[in-house]
């Protein structure tokens, strides 16, 4: 039901004294756009709490772009934490936007960010709290058009029945086209079905209601989606891709929250896409090609962003920051410009093979809390299987560079459960961490308090990757391998943590399922599941019970291997990387053959450039 647009802050204000961190619900932060005159009103929503959603750069980009459109206003909404959700339900208060405290159900367009699979139940929770009809096909004519996008939209089938449309690929410009299409269609007074038909004609826009799921001998048990008879929707929806990152606004993040949020800093995206070709990495496949923002634009953006926000930390963000052809120079210049101002520059996890002496030295302006590297596997053999083209020598060299520049702590990310993994590979993880500790002690002395924090996640096969056909480890085997790794580490300077196997299993199941996955998500939500990415909220038994309710078994779903030639539930969507390339990479993985990075070598034939009519856009020469 479409609710009237009205300011309902007065209804939640009396509740603020009874909830944790009331500042989540206050709005009017520095940089928030308070003039929301419309007349077309959009609302972008992150289906988790404010603290997690505010730093999301994707949402900030959409908010910024939509508010620049004439006649379009855009607000934000986040899912209230469980205490506030309960109070709002008790008091019959619907989910509200932040800027004007208007019901989310009063907007013309609602866009939901899908950051990962475990937000599925939160999406249902948010729509239910908002009072928006859950199933897209049952929505009233005047209800909001509900769209989705984000990294996890690549297999959005488990949530497909909820969304009127799903944007695949880059949000810049595409979100404006969507908003204007909806606005114009609404102005003309055309029926909802016609609005959706027009949306399906836009590049990168998938309208699930125009497709039906077919299960046959060519498919997995989850089937594949084809356009409905009579629909002129495309058989394959290719992602929307901007050709040049430098043509986008580098300081999209303008809102400065009052409360301390995760990643409480200015973020400047210096690079989009990664062609390293790690075979497990969905982002590496779906964000291609590589597009660099030139150093001068980054430096100007950092200066401007810090001045207008007041942040004391700036993050140069990307999938692989140290791969930027001008990274060392940028870091050096920022270090020079910002020294003495109490401002830190941080970079996300660094590649071992591109973290040189100059990089270590330039990154010193960041807090010397530690550096993060992601070797991913404990042996060269397995790193070749996953195409993580780094060596033990790279690790040792990066460690030496870091320790010689005053770092004492290091964090290493690994995955367990990778294809062909043996117990010796797992012991290799501990050995590598202990070797790094040894290097630190050798360089800084035996009492230097060097520590390595080792974090091991459970491998979850993701769609549109060369490992998409792979099955996940059964629970018991995951637990056994975790023990193998734990027992292999004897040095107390190595601190080991690992991801929860049960949470990963749910993530794995949702990553494999097609539209049938919606039944599972809905059943889980009805069992009380929400905030599944929160350790203290995740309830595996409820998920297991939900699966049982609909005649499924989570382990059976997550651990299933797909035939290499089978039609997959996400085959109707394409990030530009061809299925043939993924199959080739899968075969090369089995043979332990690596594939080079096309930004540093020759074309590897992934298909992105010819399919999307784009190419790598580098600001300089990569080493």
């Amino acid at each position: 039901m479409r609710l009237p647009r009205e300011d309902l802050f007065w209804r939640i204000e009396p509740l603020l004294g009874s909830v944790e961190r009331p500042s989540r619900y206050l709005n009017h932060e520095w940089g928030a756009i308070e003039e929301q005159d419309g007349p077309f009103h959009a609302c972008v929503m992150y289906p988790d709490i404010y603290d997690v959603g505010v730093p999301n750069l994707g949402l900030a980009i959409l908010y910024d772009e939509l508010n620049r459109l004439k006649g379009v206003s855009c607000e934000r909404a986040y899912l209230p934490w469980v205490d506030m959700c309960s109070l709002m339900r008790e008091n019959s208060i619907p989910l509200l936007s932040l800027e004007t405290s208007s019901p989310v159900a009063s907007f013309d367009l609602v866009g939901i960010s899908l950051a990962h699979e475990l937000v599925c139940t939160n999406v249902i929770e948010a729509l239910d709290l908002a009072g928006i009809t859950l199933l897209a096909e049952e929505r009233d004519e005047d209800e909001p058009i509900v769209i989705a996008g984000g990294p996890s939209a690549w297999n959005a089938e488990p949530l497909a029945p909820i969304f009127d449309a799903i944007l695949l690929g880059d949000g810049e410009r595409a979100v404006s086209r969507i908003a204007l299409t909806v606005r114009d269609a609404r102005t003309e007074g055309v029926p909802r079905t016609e609005v959706l038909r027009r949306l399906s004609g836009l590049e990168g826009v998938y309208v699930p209601s125009l497709y039906e799921v077919v299960i046959d001998e060519t498919s997995t048990r989850w089937g594949y989606a084809v356009p409905k008879t009579g629909s002129d929707a495309p058989a394959i929806i290719r992602k929307h891709c901007i050709a040049h990152l430098k043509e986008t606004e580098p300081v999209a993040q303008r809102i400065v929250p009052y409360l301390s949020v995760v990643q409480d800093r200015l973020t400047v995206e210096i690079l989009r896409g990664c062609a390293r070709g790690c075979r497990f990495c969905q982002a590496g496949m779906t964000y291609r090609p590589v597009r660099e923002r030139p150093a001068d634009q980054v430096l100007e953006a950092v200066e401007r962003g810090l001045q207008t926000s007041g942040y004391d930390e700036c993050c140069l963000s990307s999938l692989s920051t140290t791969d930027h052809s001008q990274c060392a120079g940028m870091l050096h210049e920022l270090h020079e410009n910002l020294s003495g101002k109490g401002i830190r520059v941080s970079i996300p996890s660094q590649r071992l093979d591109s973290f040189g002496v100059d990089m270590a030295s330039a990154a010193r302006s960041s807090r010397k809390a530690g550096l993060t590297f992601a070797p991913e596997a404990g042996s060269q053999r397995l790193r070749d299987v996953i195409n993580k083209n780094v060596t033990d020598e790279n690790m040792d060299s990066a460690a030496r560079n870091a320790f010689s520049n005053g770092y004492r702590r290091m964090k290493l990310y690994f995955m367990m459960g990778l294809h062909t993994e043996t117990d010796d590979d797992l012991r290799g993880i501990a050995r590598m961490a202990e070797r790094v500790v040894g290097i630190g002690r050798e360089m800084l002395g035996p009492k230097s308090k060097v520590t390595v924090a080792l974090s091991a996640s459970v491998f979850v096969p993701k769609c549109h990757t060369p490992f998409q056909w792979e099955g996940q480890l059964p629970l018991e085997e995951t637990h056994r391998r975790q023990r193998v790794m734990l027992e292999a580490a004897t040095d107390r300077a190595v601190r080991i943590s690992y991801h929860d196997a049960e949470t990963s299993l749910v993530e794995g199941a949702l990553s494999k399922m097609g539209r049938k996955g919606f039944d599972l998500v809905l059943a889980a939500w009805r069992h009380g599941c929400r905030f599944d990415a929160w350790t203290d909220q995740f309830d595996f038994e409820s998920w297991r019970q939900a699966a049982t309710d609909i005649g499924l078994d989570l382990e059976d779903i997550a651990c299933e291997r797909f035939d290499l030639d089978a039609r997959l539930p996400w085959d109707h969507t394409s990030p530009g990387v061809s299925k043939g390339y993924l199959q080739r990479e899968w075969r090369r993985a089995l043979e332990g053959m690596t594939t080079e990075d096309c930004t540093m070598g020759s074309c590897t034939g992934c298909g992105v450039c010819p399919t999307l009519h784009v190419s790598n856009d580098l600001a300089g020469e990569r080493a």
Binding site: G17, P22, S23, W30, L259, S309, D312, G340, G342
Partner: protein
Amino acid sequence: MSTLSPGACRLRVRYAKDGRLAHLGHLEVMGTIMRSVRRAGLPFEVSEGFARRMRIQFSQALPVGASSVAEYYDLLLPEPIDAAQALEELRASTPSALAPTAAKLLPRRMPALEAWANRATWDVEIACTTDEAQAFPSELARTRERGYLDFMRGDKPRHLELGPTLVSCEVLSSACGLRLALDTRTTEQGSLRPAVLVQAVMGRPPVRVCRLGQWHEAEDGNLLDPMA
């Protein structure tokens, strides 16, 4: 110990905490003001050590939900600046509900603001029936006679002597019930939060709490204005 530059001084700023931002916690207010200072482009000293941070001191924490017209911070400066111009720049860079209302340059070497400003006055509004309003003075007197409050802050039990911390409490009538004009003192043992007192007397918190002023109580009992 670091050496001070010859021109080192402090900029004392008085600001309000109003409207919905009354729901900000003290750390959130501190973070917001530090970012406002950076946005204003003012010079400031940076601490030495592991995490280099802006050197700034705040007056005592205001409880979440309480508003104020008299909060203070001292920004430590490497050299003097024009206080009036700094005030304008801070006004332009600070959310209006935390707007600075006065600024003044002071010597660098002074006691820390949080410990120095040890007296405060409060305006407290309580929603209650006529009967409750009539009973309040005697309930308050009984509480004061007992001489202490035992209460929980979060999940920790606290004990506070009322004699040294509650200077005076004037009970006034108001449209919604009662108003209290409270005068409190911070001691080494702690400080009295108006909501804690009202909770102890009435069994429920007040509807509105506003800090009206903060002072330093000199040894002779005189109250010194932070901006004087």
